[in-house]
């Protein structure tokens, strides 16, 4: 699974996610990636979210919408909301990660696996590319 979230110079956010799913999936199994509000979500009132991981758990929690709702309704930061919702996923037995972008230029990511392919860039010139948790 791959994904991107962004905030443009007008303060609008967007999210996109794409995947081949899980090796050996059968019976037409679909994970969270294409489900708006689970693996992919964007709302200028809150943030944009793209997810990767054991899709069934991201579906049950409604991860994308849940992170955005916590930001919008309780004023949580992107990182606090992302960490809290990932903890729910983990508590149900799921593993994976999220990337988040806010309309004010904030960025966040979180993952409860030992690694996530990830990267960031910004108009401030910051740029990261990483794979392992300890990077």
């Amino acid at each position: 699974t791959v994904g991107a979230v962004a905030c443009d110079t007008q303060g609008h956010v967007a999210a996109a996610t794409s995947t081949g799913g899980v090796t050996g999936k059968r019976w037409g199994r679909i994970g969270d990636t294409p489900v708006i509000g689970a693996g992919t979500f964007a709302d200028d009132r809150a943030c944009a979210v793209s997810c990767t991981g054991s899709g069934e758990f991201f579906l049950r929690v409604g991860v994308g919408h849940e992170i955005a709702a916590r930001v919008r309704l309780s004023g949580e930061s992107l990182q606090v909301a992302a960490d809290a919702v990932l903890a729910e996923v983990k508590a149900l037995g799921g593993t994976g990660g999220v990337i988040v972008a806010g309309p004010n230029g904030d960025m966040a990511w979180g993952f409860n696996t030992i690694g996530m392919y990830r990267g960031t860039a910004s108009s401030a010139g910051s740029r990261t590319v990483a794979i392992y948790a300890n990077e």
Partner: protein
């Protein structure tokens, strides 16, 4: 005004013992190219929507990641691709599940968003919509890579159990 971009290429059992030096270098290069593509859109004043589509297209074309070219195989040895895109400005969204022949599934999701009548299309209908819109098509040989064939053979040798964590992805 500022802009920001965050990307991912999947999470899982990734540690330096499990990831070969070639996969490590190839994946980092792919992530960097995706950042370049999305950053260019944003630096030129483009929309976040165009930027996330541009970044994901790069990752879909890169065989180091589980999406598009490099996607994992289903139980029956086929490829079923899922994608979604959403615009925070309007909450317009496009999503596709079990697409089989669109070279860039995120481009199909974007076409569904731009069309605006539906949000979510699946399977043969989604493939037909893609052809109707003249999106670039690709056959299974484009999507399938030797590494995924090897992993699928390993998966079958293990009895083909549905291991959501051992995703090879």
């Amino acid at each position: 005004m500022t802009w920001t971009l965050v990307i991912h290429g999947g999470a899982g059992k990734l540690d330096s013992e499990m990831v070969s030096p070639e996969q490590d270098a190839g994946a980092r290069a792919g992530l960097s190219r995706a950042l370049d593509a999305g950053s260019k859109v944003l630096a030129d004043g483009g929309s976040a929507l165009d930027a996330v589509e541009a970044a994901v297209r790069v990752l879909e074309d890169d065989p180091h990641f589980n999406s598009g070219r490099g996607a994992v195989f289903t139980h029956d040895g086929t490829l079923e691709l899922d994608a979604a895109i959403m615009d925070g400005r309007t909450r317009a969204a496009g999503a596709v599940a079990a697409a089989t022949a669109t070279r860039n599934p995120v481009g199909l999701a974007r076409a569904i968003l731009d069309d605006g009548r539906h949000v979510f299309l699946a399977g043969k209908g989604a493939d037909a919509f893609s052809r109707d819109r003249g999106l670039p098509q690709a056959d299974a040989d484009w999507f399938a890579t030797d590494e995924r064939r090897r992993q699928f053979a390993e998966f079958q040798a293990d009895g083909g159990g549905f291991d959501v964590d051992m995703k090879y992805g």
